[in-house]
Symmetry: C2
Subunit: 217 residues, 2 copies
């Protein structure tokens, strides 16, 4: 009973892509607990979305689930993983080795098999040459050679906000077209470069809006 | 020419609420640069969304903008701030004082005037009693008294994934109903508790999906 889930369409909406991360997290836990089949409703509940949303999102991965039975956990995981392109390693670099940078180096190495930080950089001359989790902190002037040599695809910016645009310019200059930015500023980039912003305040605003609506004085 | 922007409806969609964080960031920069009026298109461009999206989102804040002129920066900022409920301080606590916890303490104190971390906790007995950025690391057993005494509304979880559910249980037990979770696990909470998940991998997946679609081998 091993089905393959070929993605029906490459035009998967961004919102669906972002939810896949949650589905994958839950599927991995189910797989670890030796669960072989899961139906959309418990999957939805574990992910905090509606069952109809799960069914709609997973429909982008083509034929799936057996009516009244559910999705095959392992096969669905594999399909999502290969559709996302995370069935192979993505080499990354990180710029900005403060607390957040260190936390990210640690977090990525612990939890992200598909992502690997290959080199770390800082604009602060006093940090260059330091050793952090076994990496040597390099000068941003070395980014272009590093990108070329290590086939870096993604740059992570964990600099202070006032240094983030400079960090970004270094990455763009070196040919990086995918940036994950943690600094609380909007970055100016050419159209060919995609920036994803990690903004904790979005989530905090959402929480407090909810608390305010809930009648908190 | 000072208009007030009263929110038209309290039923503002979550997606809009989350985009407000970006609008606020851009509006603050404009205000700092002494820009008084901005029209929807440049605002949209700076925020990385469509002009029509900005107009739709801001319409939730009632009458606005003068046709052909634009939005008044200061007034719009104030309206968003008060609608979100971030015109006063929200006391928070944090549990999990590793790198990510430290980074968050720092980040919140630098960039979030409406949010204030009042106390920090860790489950590791070796960390309890340590001083971190002027806070004493406390034992989770002290959470209930702390929540009551300091009127804490929000709990931030920056624990390791294997400790996150225990951290969450401590918060729920103490009556916290709004949780920001950084640990890469889904948490089990009663219906009365709202959890927002900060998941960097969502953004990474979105970047690599895009790179894969762009013809990367």
């Amino acid at each position: 009973m091993s089905e393959t889930y070929e993605p029906k369409s490459k035009h998967i909406p961004q919102a669906t892509i972002k939810r896949l991360s949650t589905y994958l997290q839950v599927l991995k836990n189910l797989d670890r607990d030796k669960v072989e089949v899961v139906s959309s409703n418990p999957l939805a509940e574990a992910c905090g979305v509606q069952g109809s949303q799960v069914r709609k999102d997973l429909a982008y991965f083509g034929e799936f689930g057996i009516r009244g039975v559910g999705y095959q956990v392992k096969s669905l995981m594999q399909s999502i993983t290969s559709s996302l392109g995370i069935d192979h390693e993505w080499p990354m670099l990180l710029i900005g080795v403060g607390n957040l940078g260190r936390a990210m180096i640690n977090h990525v190495s612990r939890h992200a098999s598909a992502f690997s930080i290959k080199a770390i950089f800082d604009c602060d001359p006093f940090k260059i040459g330091d050793s952090v989790y076994g990496y040597e902190v390099l000068s941003p002037s070395e980014i272009p050679q590093c990108v070329e040599k290590m086939h870096i695809d993604i740059g992570i910016i964990t600099s202070r906000p006032e240094r983030a645009q400079t960090a970004c310019d270094h990455l763009v200059h070196a040919g990086i077209t995918a940036i994950l930015n943690f600094a609380p500023v909007r970055l100016k980039v050419p159209d060919s470069v995609r920036v994803e912003y990690v903004d904790f305040f979005r989530n905090l605003y959402s929480l407090v809006f909810n608390l305010s609506q809930g009648g908190k004085s």
